[in-house]
Symmetry: C2
Subunit: 415 residues, 2 copies
């Protein structure tokens, strides 16, 4: 499938990549599922690299998710192995053994403990992932690792993705410049064959794992947790953040809250921008996408409630097909608000599309002229705004339209 899908019309050009000192990467064609493309990625990190991670909430997580969750409390990472084409999910004891064998092989190459090796797999669920395919390819891959291997790595983790996804920003910590660079795959957080959304971010900053974890957990709330392609949560979702420490910035003494510490303000901002960029790149490659939807909700009883309303709009097949059809069918937005179970009052509800207020206080605006809204719907980026008129809760979410392309890709993913 992957080769035949045209590049997303919402794709963005790759940014100019930097080097994250202390991490070397590469990709190789290991023949795991795909022919004639790379499908195995290895990254080796300098000793002392700290790590933070967030994982899928699925009750049926993949074996690599279990593996990473178990080793994360140690907080140190020396290697990362990612394969595409097979998610190693619902593979029982065989799946666990593949994780162990892969980690041990990578640990030998990186001269570290297997418990410092992070694993991720993406692709079909329920098929046994043969460890030998990976372990036999790792030595050659290891000799070719490079500080400039980021683009290769971004390509090597793709499944139904139509373009590689990289984001980069610089920040200063106590006067020392550091870099934050990451890659992601997924045509949805929430998408292809549930083997879905992976993102790996690295920085040369020197930061303890506990600080990284706090920043990452907070950062994903308004980025990766606010995107949806199809409401289907992956069994393999994972975002990992590595800090090699090579920038040798002065130590951060976290006497104050990590999320408000002014010494970390610039880094926090840059990290959140990288997470935002990667999350939006995933949506821009949403399966079958022709239009990017941005959904702003205000006036909710809480931010959490606003988020649920925004995601209900972003997940509604009827809203998504209307956007695909360039139909300014705002009634479907009303429907999505009404169905989602959050506090809402028809008679205080307002709906805008493309900045034009269409409905207010439970009915269409007097003399509503659809012309500018129709024009907006013909664009590639569709802005929907809802004010519930109840409180001060706000949220923003991003989704894509639901098109024939989505049906084509997912009706025959395994074939």
């Amino acid at each position: 499938m992957a080769q035949t899908i045209p590049v997303s019309p919402l794709a963005l050009p790759m940014p100019e990549l930097g080097v994250v000192r202390g991490i070397r990467l590469g990709a190789i064609a290991a023949g795991i599922r795909y022919k004639g493309r790379t499908d195995l990625v290895l990254a080796e990190m300098a000793p002392g690299t700290t790590v933070a991670g967030v994982f899928t909430k699925s009750k049926c997580p993949g074996a690599p998710v279990d593996w990473c969750r178990a080793i994360l409390p140690k907080g140190e990472a020396r290697a990362l192995v990612v394969n595409a084409g097979n998610a190693n999910v619902f593979t029982g004891q065989a799946g666990r053994k593949t994780c162990e064998a892969t980690a041990e092989a990578a640990a030998k190459l990186a001269d570290c403990s297997a418990e410092n090796v992070y694993l991720a797999s993406t692709g079909v669920i329920g098929e046994i992932l043969p460890a030998e395919r990976i372990t036999s390819a790792l030595p050659a891959l290891h000799t070719a690792l490079s500080e400039n291997g980021w683009e290769d790595a971004a390509r090597g983790i793709m499944t139904t993705d139509t373009f590689p996804k990289v984001a980069v920003r610089k920040a200063t910590i106590k006067g020392t410049e550091v870099i934050i660079q990451g890659i992601a795959k997924g045509s949805g957080m929430i998408a292809p064959d549930m083997a879905t959304m992976l993102a790996f971010v690295a920085t040369d900053a020197k930061l303890p794992a506990s600080v990284l974890q706090t920043l990452l957990s907070a950062g994903i709330q308004k980025t990766f947790n606010c995107i949806t392609v199809d409401s289907d949560t992956s069994t393999s979702d994972m975002v990992l953040l590595f800090a090699t420490g090579a920038a040798q910035n002065p130590d951060i003494v976290t006497t104050t809250d990590v999320l408000t510490d002014p010494e970390l303000a610039d880094f926090r901002t840059a990290l959140n921008v990288v997470l935002h960029d990667l999350a939006l790149l995933v949506i821009r490659d949403g399966e079958g996408i022709t239009k990017l939807m941005s959904i702003k909700v205000s006036g909710a009883v809480s931010d959490q409630s606003a988020w649920r309303v925004a995601m209900a709009i972003g997940n509604s097949p009827l809203v998504k097909t209307a956007v695909a059809g360039e139909d300014a069918n705002w009634g479907r937005v009303v429907m999505a608000v009404g169905k989602c179970g959050e506090p809402a009052d028809r008679d205080t509800l307002s709906v805008s599309i493309g900045g034009v207020c269409i409905a207010r206080n439970g009915t269409v605006v007097d003399g509503y002229d659809e012309t500018p809204v129709v024009a907006h719907m013909k664009g590639q980026e569709i802005d929907i705004a809802v004010d519930l008129g109840l409180g001060t809760g706000i949220a923003q979410a991003w989704s894509c339209d639901l098109t024939h392309g989505y049906i084509d890709i997912n009706g025959s993913y395994r074939s």
Copy 2:
């Protein structure tokens, strides 16, 4: 749109219709939205007809839903007016005035109070529904009402429906034969332009409104509340049950629980079958349907939990597109179980398709042969069964596949 959609391949022929003494129906072309087809339905019920109703849980309900909810406690119905093409939702004060004017016009014709007139509207949201179109058409419609008007009524309430939906059963109450007959519209409970799922059931049984309401509320739990086309809950969903009393069965003295009273056992069964038949007819006309999915969940911690798991599978775009593509991609069923937030344990989970157990206890069955499952996926009715291995909770739900037809219908519904 409606005229150009081919008839659902899952359509069933109309059953042989009966007469429900005490109710006369008819339909007329009132020019509300569609050209050259009926779009206004009137039913007149004999004095003393009792009524029960269940309505959408949407926080943005249509004006007719508000109207019916307000008069339902009176428990008596003398007329029903339904229009297709405009849902009278999110229409503010104008929408309420249209309801009042319609009810008053019908009350005059039926010689009753406006508070005995039930109203329903289905179609586009957010457009003002002009009362005159309805009130000016009602007198001619009223003179043509007939005990044999059921098929006309079933056709008159259609929007994107591709076939009219009727179900009928007979039952005895204390030795007296009664009939239960109903009509429904909707290509989803949950579907077209949210103006969606309406069902009207009538019986000539003599039963108090309180008994009817208890039976109806219980009956929809395993019928209409277990179907989904696209997870989008209508602002206008409504099921009404009328009992004219014309069968003159002996009075039911509800000394025991209505839901266990042996005098009502036969009626309860027949009512539940009618509700089941109508609900399944709605799914069989799911927008773009090519395959009917039946989802059985067992081994859940409770029936409620089993229902949520079944609906998560039925609503998953990835499961639905796999079914459309005849792909026995059972990993997506695992994904849907995992994401839905209900208690589940990957390592006690079993999945069957077409009666073939594919995965058990967290991994694929040894020597799994996909051949019979592939053959099953080519059929029109797809059976998915999941056992969670945790408790005794069970549920069954019905859904349809997600196809190009759904995109076509909903990308241009208003045009």
